[in-house]
C-alpha cells in the first residue's frame, strides 16, 4: 500500500504531455530541432520565481529531458536563449553578448510576464525594458510565474517533440 503511494507520487505529471498550437515560425524551428532543444538560460533581472519553475520542469515530476529539452552551460552549444525577468541595466550588455554568442539559426524565448512586458517592474529605475526591447523575441511564455506544465508544453512545441 505504502509502496504504491510512493510510486504514484513519483510518476511523471500527465498534464505536461500535451503540446499546444504554435505560430509558423516556431513550427519551422521545431522541424529544425527534431526533438532536441539545447537551451542557454539568462536571468536578466528576475525575482527567481521563474527560475524555480524552470528548475521544477527538470524535476522527476515533469522531467523535460525526456522530450529532448536540456539546459546547456555555454551559448556556443545552444539552439535557443531562455530569458527570464525584466532586463536590468546591468544585464542588458551581457544579454546582448550571450545572444551574439549563439550560432544561427537561433531562437529567443521570453519566459514569464516580466520578460514579456516588464510585469511588476515596469518603469522601475533600474530596468532598461522588456526582453523584446533588447533582443528579438520569437516565443513568449506568459504567467507570473508560468506553470511548469505551460513551460513544458511551449518548449515541446519549440523542440518538436
Amino acid at each position: 500500500m505504502r509502496l504504491r503511494t510512493l510510486v504514484r507520487r513519483w510518476r511523471t505529471h500527465p498534464a505536461a504531455i500535451a503540446p499546444v498550437e504554435s505560430p509558423p515560425g516556431i513550427r519551422e524551428a521545431a522541424a529544425r530541432h527534431r526533438g532536441s532543444l539545447q537551451l542557454r538560460h539568462v536571468d536578466a533581472g528576475s525575482c527567481n520565481g521563474c527560475e524555480l519553475e524552470i528548475a521544477s520542469i527538470f524535476s522527476p515530476v515533469y522531467d523535460a529531458e525526456r522530450f529532448g529539452i536540456r539546459l546547456e552551460a555555454s551559448p556556443r552549444h545552444a539552439d535557443a536563449l531562455l530569458v527570464t525577468g525584466p532586463v536590468t541595466r546591468n544585464m542588458a550588455g551581457p544579454l546582448r553578448k550571450t545572444f551574439d554568442a549563439l550560432a544561427e539559426p537561433r531562437v529567443v524565448v521570453a519566459l514569464g510576464d516580466c520578460a514579456r512586458n516588464c510585469g511588476a517592474f515596469a518603469g522601475a529605475y533600474g530596468v532598461e525594458g522588456a526582453v523584446g526591447d533588447v533582443v528579438p523575441v520569437d516565443l513568449e511564455i506568459p504567467g507570473c510565474p508560468p506553470a511548469p506544465e505551460a513551460i513544458v508544453a511551449a518548449l515541446r512545441n519549440l523542440a518538436g517533440s
Binding site: 539568462v42 551559448p75 556556443r76 550588455g93 551581457p94 553578448k97 551574439d100 554568442a101
Partner: protein, 667 residues
C-alpha cells in the same frame, strides 16, 4: 685539401683581426664575411672528407710549443665540422641583421670569429694538446660572448660566473682524463692512444672514461652538470645562443664518443649503463623544465639538455649493444645518436634564431608578455612553428627520423639474455616516450601562448617583422628541417660512414634502401617521402572538399567570456597556467614556490588594495646540490682566511713543513 684546412684557420684569424682592428663602419660586415669564408672552407673540407672517406691531416712543429700542432680530420670529426659550419653560416648571416646585445663592440666582433673557428677545429685536433688548446679557446671565447651584454643586464654576469666555473671544471676533468691516457700510452697523439688503449690497466681506462664523461657531459648540458646551460644560453645574444646550443653542445657528445668508442674501443657494461642513466636523467629533467618554463630561451635551453640526454641515451645503448656482441644494433643506435645531433643542430639553431628575433621585436622573452605574434611576424612565426614541430619530433620533420631510429634500436635490443640490456632498454623506451610527450606539450605551450591569441602587452602588439638577413638565416634552417625530415637519405650515408669510422669497422650498410630508412634483418621501414606525400594529399583533399561544399554564412563573434563586459588579453591562457597541471603532477621534482602578497587599504583590513602572486620553479639540482656546495666552499674560504694571519714565523713554518713533506715523498 690540407691547404684548405689551413686556409680556413687563417680566414678565421683574419676575421678575428678584422673585428679587432677595422673601423666601426665596416667592422661587422668585414669580420662576418671573413668568418663566412672560413665556414665555407670548413664545409668544403668536411664534405670532401665525408664523400671521399679519406682523412685530411696537417702537422706543424712550430705553431704550438713542445707538442706541435696536429690536425687530422676523419669522417667522424668531419660530420661535426659540417654541422658546426652549417649552423655558423646561418647564425652569421643572421648576425648581419641582428642589432644590439653588445655584439657590435670591438671585443665581441673580434671574439665571434674566434669562437666559430674553434668550433670548426675542435673536431679536427688529433693530439691531446691541440685538442685542449682549441677546447679551452672555445670555452674562453664563448664565455666572452656570453658576457657581451654585461653592462645592460644584471643577469648576464651571474650567467657568466656559472658558465665560467662549470666550463673550467669540465675542462679540468677532460684534461686529467686525457693526460692519464696519454701518460699510459706514452704518446699524446690520438692514434697512439687508440693503438695502446686495449693494453692499459682497467682502472686507468675506467678512470679516464669517467673523467671524460664528466668533462664532456658538462659541455653537453648533461644533468647534474647542466646548471650553466639555461642561464648562459638564455642570456647570450641571438647568434651566440644558436651557436652554443646547436653547435657547441654537440662537441660534448663528440668528445664522449671519440674517447669511449674511438680511443678506448668500448668498455665494460657499467660504463654504458652510466652513460644511459645520465642521458635518461638529462632527457627527463630537461623535458620537464622546458615544459614548465615561461622564458622562451630558457625553455629552448632546457630542451637542449633534453635532446642531448636522448643522444647520450643512444650512445649508451650503442655501447651496451657493442659489449654484448650485437654490432649491427650498436651501429644503428650510434647512427641514431649522430643523426639526432645533426637534426637537433638544425631545429635548435632555427628555434634559437627565431626566438631571438621575437626578443628583438618585442624586447622580452617572457611568454606571458607575448601573444599574437604569428600575425605580426608571419615569417619568424612560421619558422618558429616549423622548428618547434621538429623539436616535438612530429613525422615529416627532421626530429622524427632520429628518434624513430633510436626507438627501433632499443625495441629490437629487447630480446636479450644479458640482464643489463634487458633492464636498460625498456627503461630507455619509457624515457623516450615520456620525453616525446613532454616535448609536444612544450611546443604547444611555446607556439600557442607566444604566437597565437591576442598580444598580452603593448610591446607584443607593436611587434614588426625583422629584417631579411634575420629571417633568411633562420629560414634556411627551417627549410632544412623539412628537407632533411622528408629526405633523410641525403645525410644518412654520411652519418653511417662517420659512425663506422669511429667504431673502427666496416659494418654493413643497413639503413638506406633507396629513399626509405630500414633496419637490416628487421621489418621496420620508414619512408618519410611517402608519409609526406600522403599527408599533403590528405590535407589537399580536405581543403578541396571544404572548398567544394558550400559553407554557410560566417559571422565573426567575440570569444565567449560568460557575457563579461570588459574582456582583455590578460584573461588569456598564460604559459604559467598552461604548465600548472604538469607542475602539480611533478611537484616533487620541480618544487614550485608560490608567494602571495596582499596589501590592504589603510582604512580597513577587509578591503584589499593589491594582490600579487609570484610563482617560480627552481632547478632542483641547483637547490639541493649546488647551494650546499657553495655554502660549504664559502665556509671553507672563511675558515682558511685565518691560516695566513700575517705572522712571518708561521709562514716560515709552512715552508719547512712543505719542504719536509716533499723530501719524504721524493725519498
Amino acid at each position: 685539401m690540407s691547404g684548405l684546412l689551413v686556409a680556413t684557420l687563417v680566414l678565421g684569424l683574419a676575421g678575428c683581426v678584422a673585428g679587432a682592428a677595422s673601423p666601426i663602419g665596416i667592422r661587422t660586415p668585414l669580420s662576418v664575411a671573413l668568418t663566412l669564408a672560413a665556414c665555407a672552407g670548413a664545409l668544403a673540407v668536411g664534405v670532401a672528407v665525408l664523400v671521399r672517406g679519406r682523412a685530411v691531416s696537417f702537422h706543424d712543429q712550430h705553431l704550438l710549443p713542445l707538442s706541435g700542432f696536429n690536425l687530422r680530420l676523419d669522417r667522424f670529426g668531419a660530420l661535426f665540422v659540417v654541422v658546426s659550419a652549417g649552423v655558423a653560416v646561418c647564425a652569421l648571416v643572421y648576425r648581419l641583421g641582428y642589432d644590439g646585445h653588445g655584439l657590435s663592440s670591438r671585443t665581441a666582433s673580434a671574439v665571434l670569429p674566434a669562437f666559430v673557428t674553434t668550433l670548426l677545429f675542435v673536431p679536427s685536433a688529433s693530439d691531446v694538446t691541440t685538442f685542449l688548446f682549441f677546447w679551452e679557446l672555445m670555452a674562453l671565447t664563448s664565455l666572452l660572448l656570453v658576457l657581451a651584454d654585461h653592462r645592460h643586464r644584471a643577469e648576464v654576469p651571474v650567467a657568466g660566473q656559472w658558465y665560467a666555473v662549470m666550463t673550467q671544471f669540465g675542462a679540468a676533468a677532460i684534461l686529467v682524463g686525457l693526460v692519464l691516457l696519454a701518460t699510459h700510452a706514452g704518446s699524446q697523439s690520438f692514434a697512439a692512444i687508440a693503438a695502446s688503449s686495449l693494453h692499459m690497466r682497467p682502472w686507468v681506462r675506467s678512470a679516464a672514461f669517467v673523467l671524460v664523461v664528466i668533462g664532456f657531459g658538462s659541455k653537453a648540458g648533461a644533468v647534474p652538470l647542466h646548471v650553466w646551460l639555461p642561464r648562459a644560453h638564455s642570456e647570450s645574444s641571438g647568434p651566440v645562443s644558436a651557436l652554443m646550443s646547436a653547435a657547441m653542445v654537440n662537441l660534448g657528445i663528440y668528445g664522449i664518443v671519440r674517447v669511449g668508442d674511438g680511443l678506448l674501443h668500448g668498455g665494460p657494461v657499467w660504463w654504458w649503463l652510466m652513460v644511459m642513466a645520465i642521458g635518461a636523467l638529462s632527457a627527463l629533467f630537461g623535458a620537464l623544465h622546458s615544459a614548465t618554463s615561461r622564458d622562451l630561451k630558457r625553455l629552448l635551453a632546457y630542451s637542449t639538455t633534453d635532446n642531448m640526454g636522448l643522444v647520450l641515451l643512444a650512445v649508451g645503448a650503442s655501447g651496451l649493444f657493442a659489449v654484448t656482441g650485437r654490432h649491427a644494433l650498436a651501429l644503428v643506435a650510434l647512427v641514431a645518436a649522430l643523426l639526432h645531433v645533426v637534426f637537433h643542430a638544425v631545429f635548435k639553431g632555427c628555434l634559437f634564431l627565431s626566438a631571438s628575433s621575437i626578443q628583438q621585436a618585442t624586447g622580452t622573452r617572457d611568454l606571458d608578455s607575448l601573444g599574437g605574434l604569428l600575425r605580426r611576424m608571419p615569417v619568424t612565426g612560421s619558422v618558429f612553428l616549423v622548428g618547434g614541430l621538429a623539436m616535438a619530433a612530429l613525422p615529416v620533420l627532421c626530429g622524427f627520423v632520429s628518434e624513430w631510429l633510436l626507438l627501433q634500436s632499443m625495441l629490437h635490443g629487447l630480446p636479450s639474455k644479458d640482464p643489463a640490456v634487458a633492464v636498460a632498454m625498456p627503461v630507455g623506451v619509457g624515457v623516450l616516450a615520456l620525453t616525446g610527450g613532454l616535448a609536444a606539450f612544450t611546443f604547444v605551450k611555446a607556439a600557442g601562448i607566444g604566437l597565437l591569441g591576442l598580444p598580452r602587452t603593448e610591446a607584443a602588439a607593436r611587434a614588426r617583422e625583422v629584417g631579411p638577413a634575420m629571417t633568411g638565416g633562420s629560414g634556411v634552417l627551417a627549410a632544412l628541417c623539412v628537407l632533411l625530415g622528408v629526405a633523410p637519405f641525403l645525410v644518412l650515408p654520411a652519418v653511417i660512414d662517420a659512425a663506422n669510422g669511429v667504431l673502427g669497422r666496416r659494418g654493413p650498410d643497413p639503413l638506406v634502401r633507396g629513399w626509405q630508412v630500414g633496419l637490416s634483418g628487421v621489418h621496420g621501414v620508414l619512408a618519410p617521402g611517402i608519409l609526406a606525400a600522403v599527408l599533403c594529399a590528405a590535407v589537399g583533399t580536405v581543403a578541396l572538399v571544404r572548398a567544394a561544399v558550400e559553407p554557410g554564412p560566417v559571422r565573426v563573434a567575440e570569444a565567449w567570456g560568460c557575457g563579461r563586459e570588459l574582456q582583455t588579453a590578460r584573461m588569456e591562457y598564460t604559459a604559467t597556467s598552461f604548465g600548472e597541471p604538469l607542475t602539480r603532477v611533478f611537484e616533487d621534482v620541480l618544487a614550485p614556490s608560490h608567494d602571495v602578497d596582499i596589501s590592504h587599504v589603510a582604512e580597513s583590513r577587509y578591503y584589499v588594495e593589491a594582490a600579487t602572486v609570484h610563482t617560480s620553479t627552481d632547478d632542483g639540482f641547483e637547490r639541493r646540490l649546488y647551494a650546499p656546495a657553495q655554502r660549504a666552499l664559502r665556509r671553507f674560504g672563511t675558515a682558511a682566511r685565518s691560516v695566513p694571519n700575517g705572522s712571518v714565523h708561521r709562514y716560515l713554518a709552512f715552508g719547512l713543513v712543505a719542504l719536509v713533506l716533499v723530501l719524504v715523498l721524493v725519498a
